[in-house]
């Protein structure tokens, strides 16, 4: 059902938006391919909603342009753009039935009545709400309202569907279910999705590609795996998932901690010299007996266990390194060693390949 034409569905090209002297979106360039599910991820206030509003036509950029299926729509009003939005607050029309809400866009386009009835039925079936045809949207639960909003947008077959934190008003359980549901609907209709969220887990679970935003600018664009395993800045590394940080001094392929312990650097970071920040994920870490041998592919540091928290599927162990720095280990493998008591000393191991190295410049500290 995607466009028969070639080329991207949506393109931001050098888009900047200024509110009262402050650039809220800065020189954003992004190309969205037909059928892609893209998550725009960033902390609150990073400009995600503004970027989406610019695509929808609710705001106009101060610089740059927006192309929709190759056509420049930068100055077009919303009603002349082939995109539709799903709002966080649902924004269903309270004075209309569910069916009239869904039919709204088709009626504005003067689609024949019989065709409207057919399409509305189809759209409501897609989101599993055909029984609620005549209901007032105000009588529906949050999850149901969000489905109506989705049907109301998708029934128009937009080139791109824009979703602004559509699930964040729902409670956790329903949110999980809607994430799966939304993914299914995306696959079923094949429409391009541009999905804004501040929830990194949601972005990782749902998107083909993730766009990380920070203070209005794109920090990194990539697949979930790229963003998670190879973050290009400490900000991305910290925002997506948890990270252990160690301050060290790099020289000839290794970084030295203040107590003299050595961290071997991965191939790409061998050239580094001077102060660096070393990062590694808690779940990539294993604990081993203090006298274990550190393999040639591994990094290892000694640490004292400060607490052990059993959380069902995983166990979280907090440790203190001999130079005082704190690290955390999250593991399902409780059988690697018999965990010593709190206060015991162990060896923390992780692969050299999963060691992240960043500049220690103070501005990048988070």
């Amino acid at each position: 059902m995607t466009a028969s034409i070639d080329g991207p569905d949506l393109e931001f090209s050098g888009v900047t938006k200024i509110f009262s002297g402050r650039a809220v979106v800065r020189r954003v360039s992004l190309t969205v391919q037909p059928g892609e599910f893209i998550a725009v991820l960033g902390p609150s206030g990073s400009g995600k909603s503004t970027l989406l509003k610019i695509a929808a036509g609710f705001e106009f950029p101060d610089e740059g342009c927006i192309l929709l299926r190759g056509k420049d729509v930068t100055t077009e009003p919303p009603y002349r753009r082939n995109v539709n939005t799903v709002f966080q607050s649902y924004a269903l029309f309270p004075h209309m039935s569910v069916a009239d809400n869904v039919a709204y866009g088709l009626r504005r386009k003067k689609v024949p009545q019989t065709e409207i009835a057919h399409k509305v039925k189809e759209a409501l079936a897609l989101v599993g709400l055909h029984r609620f045809w005549d209901n007032s949207p105000t009588t529906l639960s949050g999850g149901e309202q969000q489905r109506v909003a989705l049907a109301r947008a998708l029934v128009n077959r937009p080139a791109v569907l824009l979703l602004d934190e559509p699930l964040s008003a729902l409670d956790l359980k329903i949110r999980r279910r809607m994430q799966i549901e939304l993914k299914r609907i995306h696959q079923e209709v094949g429409t391009t999705f541009l999905f804004v969220t501040h929830d990194q887990e949601e972005a990782l679970v749902m998107a083909d590609r993730i766009v990380v935003m920070r203070e209005g600018a794109l920090e990194q664009v990539g697949t979930a795996r790229e963003i998670y395993d190879a973050p290009v800045t400490p900000f991305v590394a910290d925002f997506v998932g948890e990270l252990n940080w160690l301050d060290a001094n790099a020289s000839s392929g290794a970084a030295i901690l203040s107590d003299g312990a050595q961290i071997k650097l991965p191939e790409a970071s061998q050239h580094r010299r001077g102060p660096v920040r070393i990062g590694f994920r808690p779940e990539k870490m294993r604990l081993a007996p203090i006298d274990a041998v550190i393999g040639p592919q591994d990094n290892g540091v000694r640490a004292t266990i400060t607490s052990v928290t059993f959380q069902g599927p995983i166990t979280t162990v907090d440790l203190r390194l001999t130079d005082g720095m704190i690290v955390r280990c999250q593991s399902s493998a409780t059988d690697t060693i018999e965990l010593p008591e709190k206060g015991g000393t162990v060896l923390c191991l992780w692969q050299i390949g999963s060691t992240l190295v960043f500049d220690a410049s103070p501005t990048e500290q988070t």
Binding site: G57, P77, Y104, R108
Partner: protein, 277 residues
């Protein structure tokens, strides 16, 4: 008892005066005082001469005109205040618009006389600009001036309910409508108008009821041709001292007013007017 206070209010402010009024209308006042025999003579008198029905119809027409003009002015201004003005500016603008209304109703009516009179500001400006040669008499002491001044005086009663019901329309509803292909005109027709219907009905009823019962403004700026039904009633309780006739006229006015209110509220339920969802 939840309904206790409401019942008390109803008895004191509505049922009691209405009963007294109906009671009074059933006697006749003569030059010797009240004749205490029950009679429908007052009602017969009302229909015996066209004068009274004519004045009632004319007053209904004037009140309707005033209401329509107030609503036509209020709609765009209320929309502008509720949806276009930046939130930080709203209070300032509301205060600026309503500041004149802190001054007494009577003073605000008098203020129009130096504006509209033969030697008033409007005539002066028109003559200095050479648009007219002689001062216009049509500006004051007629139906026009009564309606003009009452539109001005009752404007807030139309504007406030409209502003309140527009202010509670979620901005995202307007965005959603535009997003789904609505032009500004279509957004107005399909979203703004239906969602502000409670405020529209509330404002319409309030302005109409206030206008139809007015007698101070017609007295001050109406002249002989601008007189309204309220003046006729007021005269019976004043100069003519014919309370039973005044009571009868009041009942006709109340009946006509209630009929109009019932007509409006049959279109928009009273629930939605007073308990906006």
């Amino acid at each position: 008892m939840q309904v206790g206070p409401a019942v008390a209010l109803f008895l004191v402010f509505l049922a009691a005066p209405l009963t007294v009024t109906i009671g009074m209308s059933l006697f006749r006042t003569t030059i010797f005082g009240v004749d205490w025999t029950l009679t429908l003579a007052n009602y017969a008198k009302f229909f015996s001469e066209w004068l009274y029905t004519d004045l009632l119809l004319k007053s209904l027409r004037m009140a309707a005109t005033i209401t329509v003009v107030v609503i036509l002015i209020s709609f765009p201004v209320a929309f502008w205040l509720a949806k276009i003005v930046r939130p930080g500016w709203k209070i300032t603008l509301l205060l600026l618009i309503f500041a004149p209304y802190w001054v007494s109703y009577v003073i605000r009516t008098y203020a129009w006389m130096p504006l509209l009179g033969r030697t008033g500001v409007v005539n002066y400006v028109l003559m200095s600009l050479g648009i007219i040669d002689a001062p216009l008499d049509v500006l004051l002491f007629n139906e026009f001036s009564v309606q003009l001044v009452m539109v001005y005086i009752f404007l807030p009663f139309g504007m406030v309910p409209l502003y309140l019901s527009m202010d509670r329309i979620d901005d995202n509803l307007l965005r959603a409508a535009a997003d789904l292909g609505s032009t500004p005109a279509s957004i107005f027709r399909h979203i703004v108008l239906p969602l502000s219907a409670p405020g529209l009905a509330g404002g319409t009823i309030t302005v109409f009821v206030l206008a139809i019962g007015s007698y101070v403004t017609p007295r001050l700026v109406g002249g002989p041709s601008g007189i309204m039904f309220g003046n006729l009633i007021a005269d019976q309780f004043g100069a003519s001292f014919n309370w039973s006739w005044g009571a009868t006229l009041s009942i006709f006015l109340v009946t006509a007013t209630l009929a109009i209110v019932a007509l409006i509220s049959s279109r928009v339920s009273l629930n939605r007017i007073f308990l906006q969802p």
